[in-house]
Amino acid sequence: MGILAWLEASGLAEWVRTSTVGYPLMITAHAIGMAVMVGLAFLLDMRLLGMFRGIPFPALHRFFAVARAGFAINFLSGVALFTTEATTYVSDFMFVSKIALVLAGAATALWLQAAVGRDSTSWSDAVAPGAVRLVAVLSILCWVGATITGRLIAYL
């Protein structure tokens, strides 16, 4: 595909592939973004599943924002890493699976943040409704899946 070959031949791709700093910087940023996004997702999901009830639901709002910053770091570093081998990654089953799981995880985060922001003040006894708890479980599964498939790209 033309655009993938173009990306792979770009200055950015060349810099990430060949400079001393490029690749290590991008993978370190990607690890940091993962810790922030996935780490906070786990904690937020645990709260929504009923753990740590001393934390008021509306207070989670700003932590969703911090998680989004982690996601942004990973989107940018991820694009930079993708360009280095765009034509190969796009047909790599493990990579495509990871992206699908990341997008699904991001969708759960957006849905949960909206639900918490809109409705949580009416949740009695600080217990979230069944639908919210279901999506929180899906969120955990998506992010665990994204982490596993992400690691396996290098192996399979």
């Binding site: 690890a31 780490g39 904690l43 645990m46 740590f52 009830r53 934390i55 982490t147």
Partner: protein, 160 residues
Amino acid sequence: MDVIYDWMMSSWINGLVVDYPWTWPTLETLHFLGLCLLLGALLIMDLRLIGFQRTIPLGAVHALTPVAVTGFAINLVTGLGFVFGDPETYTANYAFWVKMVLVLLAGLNYAVFALRVEPSLARLGPRDAMPLSAKAVGVASLAVWFGVLAYGRLLPYVGG
């Protein structure tokens, strides 16, 4: 040193790593999940210490400690798996030693928090501004642990 290497390389953990190709990626994946638990919990706890989101009671944030401890425990065990699986590579790597020193510093910072800072927080009312000492340990904790993460990720690239 040779005695220690021989002991590590004849261990059952080393056997698991050498004999089964899935051992290493499994250890790595668990290590990544452990660090997410640790850093996820610490982000909430340390940002609260810094004064972020003061609607969360300090006691509620303290309740997250077992999550951080669990993440750390997973990473301690999987970390031992790595080192016993390939002792000579790790001990020859400068980044590994820096990472271990940073983990110890994180432990020291936690001791300062538990012994000196946390008791002083008992007299704070809800939503009070956080004292400088609390902000300092919060910032130090995040800085050191993200440093651990960075050095860990860079291990293969720094080398011996």
